[in-house]
């Protein structure tokens, strides 16, 4: 069957996030105060044909490590589900 997969890729802790830094500076300029610890990321949604949940997750995790993220600077959160 088809399993819905969500992969969320973010920069690892300690890796500078220039996009987040720019957004965090822009928000107060628009009057939105109090924002801190902002991080950006990228979400991938897809369906994966697999025999069961465990094998779907295993294959999605392998995809996340091989292509969807660069493990040198990014980490990937892989789960079953939809947004």
């Amino acid at each position: 069957m088809n399993y819905p997969i969500l992969v969320h890729v973010t920069l690892r802790a300690g890796i500078a996030d220039p996009e987040a830094a720019t957004i965090e500076r822009a928000l107060p300029a628009l009057g939105f105060s109090g924002v801190s610890h902002l991080r950006t990321g990228k979400t991938f949604r897809f369906e994966l044909a697999a025999s069961d949940e465990a094998s779907a997750l295993e294959r999605a995790t392998a995809m996340a490590e091989r292509l969807l993220s660069n493990p040198v600077i990014e980490s990937a959160d892989v789960r079953l589900g939809t947004l």
Binding site: I15, P18, E19, L67, N70
Partner: protein
């Protein structure tokens, strides 16, 4: 001496690289990314551009091109490999060089001449230069912000792998890094474009010393 200049869909500096290498006495030719045989070449250049549209991340798709499988063995044979700009990004994604290039600090696409300082002459790109030598060479990138963890940075320093630094860091790169090599010194990646600094008439000829070093380091296949 034959140099293969790899062309990915979206490469756009291959003719600049070809012209510069030929001007310096090498015999450069284009190699399509779907080719997987590099045996005939004495050196390989991955030129600048936007391989595969830079989709996902710069270099993320290109690293799986057939030519990249062959490039791993080619690099291991000790022959020189040079990645310029997008080529540097491809080499890091492929794991042939450590670290990663991410978006510039300030999220600005940078296109301008910068001053580089030669940090090591152990690499195939800097053998003919001297440590501390200043070179004015153009940059042209959005993701040139060199990033690595502390252990990788310590290893780069310990093995003299930092090849070039920016005199005035334009993009947020760690330790002002503009170019690095592998431990052996035969694989080099840099964000600036030495092939665009070949003539004072066009702004600078400071790229010559780097590409002359590269051509002088070619190893007969």
């Amino acid at each position: 001496m034959r140099v293969g200049v790899v062309v990915f869909p979206g490469s756009n500096c291959e003719y600049d690289a070809l012209g510069a290498l030929n001007e310096l006495g090498a015999s450069a030719e284009l190699v399509w990314h779907a080719d997987s045989d590099l045996d005939a070449f004495d050196g390989v250049v991955l030129p600048g551009g936007f391989a595969h549209g830079d989709y996902l991340r710069p270099g993320a798709i290109a690293r799986f091109s057939p030519v990249m499988g062959a490039l791993g063995a080619f690099a291991a044979s000790g022959r020189p490999v040079l990645g310029i700009c997008n080529g540097f990004q491809v080499l890091t994604e492929a794991g042939l060089l450590p670290g990663a290039l991410q978006k510039n600090r300030g999220l600005t696409f940078l296109s301008m001449p910068v001053t580089l300082v030669v940090a090591s002459t152990r690499s195939v790109l800097t053998r003919g230069a001297r440590v501390g030598q200043e070179l004015v060479i153009p940059i042209n990138h959005f993701s040139g912000n060199y990033t690595c963890d502390d252990a990788t940075h310590a290893s780069l320093l310990a093995h003299d792998q930092i090849v070039l630094r920016y005199a005035d860091n334009p993009n947020g790169s760690r330790d002002d890094i503009a170019g690095i090599s592998n431990e052996a010194g035969n694989v080099v990646g840099l964000m600036p474009h030495p092939e665009r600094a070949m003539s004072t008439l066009l702004g600078s000829a400071d790229g010559r010393v780097l590409l002359e070093s590269f051509v002088g380091s070619l190893v007969r296949a």
